[in-house]
Symmetry: C2
DNA sequence: TGTTGTTAGTTACAAAATCAACCGTTAACA
DNA sequence: TGTTAACGGTTGATTTTGTAACTAACAACA
């Protein structure tokens, strides 16, 4: 029982997805790294706080599916660099509320704008139909509904 | 000039791509790790050699876009575990030809089959049109033509 | 209350990725 | 030829990630 011999790495979805993900994030990665010295985890935490406002680390974890140790370390670094502050929750002292500082919000606005422009530029390499179906298919594969 | 406020992480293509890539590779990762103790870099090198036959590390790098240190270390581990051998190139002694051993080819055939089945299972969560357009769009984004 | 189990978050240690410097070989060319 | 630059590949130091064990706080319920 021979295998279809046109099955190579370029046809393997996980590989294709990974290549596309890496390639497509390269230029943007450079921006948050160069402008704010951030790692991807930090940019993600910043983005969540900028978009949804005050959150706990747990809530960020639930939304982003990042592991809690990644979040913990990202929060530490963002705090050190004065992009966010922690506020104790008196009703449950295990958790802390995270808020962006003025500086954090400025970075968020800046990067949000860059991301939007970058996303549009990527989408421009696709037809409208491709873009729509790509997004739908990716959501399915990522199990986001 | 306000920003479109429906732009969140779930709409940011690099993020979506990354989530889909991670989610979709999880189960397969488990297979080459459990059966052969391989890392992703090693599975990729193995796959390239299985698919294209004898290659140098440089050629694997050109095809896979992996960094040369990753490839160097993956080759080392695959050699230690007797999945491949090195053959000197007398015409250019800087480089070596890499060949799979019998054991390496067996692992390749096994994993190739698993990958094919896994890819088909992923594709089954999509409609035929979605699948076709997804692959085309990913190739564009990954700049593979 | 007291015990047991769970949760939010951190820390310690191991595994892996990244980056720069490096070695031996080949190429370019004076 | 002799010198310099470029190349293929490896190594070592540093950074980042992953895994598990941990702390402090809360919850459930005898």
């Amino acid at each position: 029982m021979p295998q279809k011999d046109d099955f190579d790495l370029q046809n393997f979805l996980p590989y294709l997805l990974n290549q596309a993900a890496e390639e497509s994030s390269l230029a943007f990665q450079q921006v948050y790294k160069d402008r704010y010295g951030m790692l991807r985890t930090e940019w993600r935490v910043l983005f969540h706080l900028g978009l949804y406002g005050r959150l706990t680390a747990k809530e960020i974890g639930a939304r982003s599916k990042m592991h809690k140790t990644k979040i913990s370390r990202a929060v530490q670094r963002l705090e050190e660099r004065r992009f966010l502050t922690r506020a104790p929750d008196d009703a449950d002292r295990r958790q802390e509320y995270l808020d962006l500082t003025v500086q954090g919000r400025a970075a968020y606005r800046d990067l949000h704008g860059v991301a939007q422009g970058y996303d549009a530029a990527l989408a421009d390499t696709l037809t409208a139909e491709e873009e729509r179906i790509l997004r739908a298919a990716l959501r399915k594969l990522a199990r986001m509904g």
